[in-house]
């Protein structure tokens, strides 16, 4: 009988500690959620200037990518996804088509 009481006490202790853990985590998740909302709000309130900067940066990266690919092509390598990086013999319709699409 004594053993059973002891076992029950142990279970109770374990459950209590588990409950405490859950409570701690809930506070943490609540804090994260608030943080997320705050960051979202901040992101939306970025000024025109910052927005333009981001867009320009993206365009620059894209432009560099296009430049790199067309240079790679003119140096004699395929840039189409079929034979990317392989040495090409003569011009390739798919590379030209791909570069034209990127150009638009």
């Amino acid at each position: 009988m004594k053993q059973l009481t002891q076992a029950l006490t142990e279970v109770e202790e374990k459950l209590t500690s588990l409950l405490q853990e859950v409570q701690r985590l809930r506070i943490y998740s609540h804090a994260l959620e608030e943080d997320n909302v705050r960051l979202r709000r901040e992101l939306c309130s970025l000024g025109e200037a910052e927005n333009a900067k981001v867009v320009a940066n993206a365009a620059k990266i894209q432009g560099e990518g296009y430049g790199n690919l067309s240079r790679l092509y003119s140096e004699g390598f395929h840039v189409c996804h079929l034979h990317f990086g392989q040495i090409r013999e003569g011009d390739c319709l798919f590379c030209v088509g791909f570069l034209r699409k990127e150009d638009l």
Binding site: G90, L93, V96, G97
Partner: protein, 368 residues
């Protein structure tokens, strides 16, 4: 097996299936033709495991049986047979075929038919019918654009697309591209596409005897089967993804010229005679109402050709590989064509004037 047949039929059957006999095979059985009787016909079959051809000829069957005859020697003998009633007689115990053409005879050592690979019959769930003459013209206008380089297997095939009642074919070697479509007589309710070896399509086109007959095409996951007349041809499909061909077709142009096909073909062929060896470069200059084609070679000389054209849009200058231009001009049925250009680096488009079912794309050569 014991049968009686005539020489013409036997020659036809052997010649048809001979195309599928493997020239270089590690399996000796594939250098043979399977001959097998069924009801009142003799079925001849050959395969190199990529392509299988089956042809049946009418015979008088006295005793049923089957055997694999060595293709090379059998076809030579058949071709040289006298024009008389021919009796094929086999002794299945020792695989020997006796060809009797009274009063003479030839015996050939053969192989056991059990060893011959079974050519699978495809389920006829997905099939279409197309008129031979249309099929032939599609193959003629498209298949030559496929690559011959086995290192890029996908381009040695022709992309075949079926969308309900539209049948499309596309082939490219990445330097040029040919596209042709046709409307089928019946709606297939199918959406299917696969890459069929160009060789198989050319073979079917070559074996068609009657332009008015219909060809039945049966599609399966890895194979395609063409049935026409007394012939059945089975080919494996090429695995892999065919690139998006629509992406490479320019949607607008700056220069549009209309020119007589024959006049342009003659001029191009003459210009190609002295085109630089190897690269075959010819220069095209579009001026008001005239297309000037020039080519030169340090060793041979120069060619200057002028062809009358109708010009719409800007004047232009572009260089092409003469072979790619000659190839297409030879297969276009229309008397006049339209060439569309956009600068000297974008692909040129060639179409017949009277129909919008054909398109040929040719990539220019960069010259400095």
């Amino acid at each position: 097996m014991k049968i009686l047949c005539n020489r013409e039929n036997l020659i036809q059957g052997v010649q048809v299936v001979l195309r599928a006999v493997s020239a270089k095979t590690t399996l000796p059985i594939l250098s043979g033709i399977l001959i097998k009787t069924e009801v009142d016909r003799l079925y001849l079959t050959a395969t190199d495991l990529e392509l299988g051809i089956d042809c049946s000829i009418p015979v008088q069957v006295i005793e049923h049986g089957s055997l694999v005859v060595p293709a090379r020697i059998f076809s030579e003998i058949v071709k040289k047979l006298p024009d008389t009633k021919i009796e094929l007689n086999t002794n299945n115990q020792n695989n020997i075929l006796t060809v009797n053409y009274s009063p003479s005879q030839t015996t050939i050592n053969c192989m056991d038919s059990e060893e011959f690979p079974v050519i699978p019959a495809l389920e006829e769930n997905h099939n279409i019918s197309i008129k031979s003459s249309i099929f032939k013209s599609m193959v003629k206008q498209v298949a030559f654009s496929a690559a011959t380089d086995e290192n890029r297997p996908i381009f040695t095939g022709v992309l075949v697309i079926i969308e309900n009642d539209i049948f499309k074919t596309v082939a490219t070697d990445t330097h040029r591209l040919a596209y042709r479509n046709t409307t089928l007589e019946a709606d297939t309710n199918m959406n299917w596409q696969a890459v069929v070896p160009a060789k198989a399509l050319v073979e079917v086109s070559r074996l068609i005897q009657d332009d008015d007959e219909m060809i039945d095409i049966i599609f399966a996951e890895n194979q395609i089967n063409f049935k026409f007349g007394n012939i059945s041809l089975l080919s494996r499909l090429i695995e892999g993804q065919f690139p998006n061909y629509k992406q490479v077709i320019p949607t607008s142009c700056k220069t549009k010229i209309r020119v007589l096909t024959k006049a342009l073909l003659d001029a191009t062929e003459r210009a190609s005679l002295v085109a630089r060896e190897g690269s075959n470069v010819i220069k095209l200059k579009v001026q008001e109402n005239a297309l000037i084609i020039t080519s030169d070679s340090a060793d041979l000389g120069k060619v200057y050709e002028e062809v009358q054209v109708e010009l719409q849009g800007e004047e232009a200058q572009i260089s092409f590989n003469s072979r790619y231009l000659v190839d297409v001009l030879k297969v276009i049925d229309c008397e006049e064509i339209v060439i569309e250009l956009t600068g000297s680096l974008s692909p040129g488009i060639i179409r017949p004037v009277d129909a919008n079912n054909y398109l040929y794309l040719i990539l220019p050569i960069r010259t400095n």
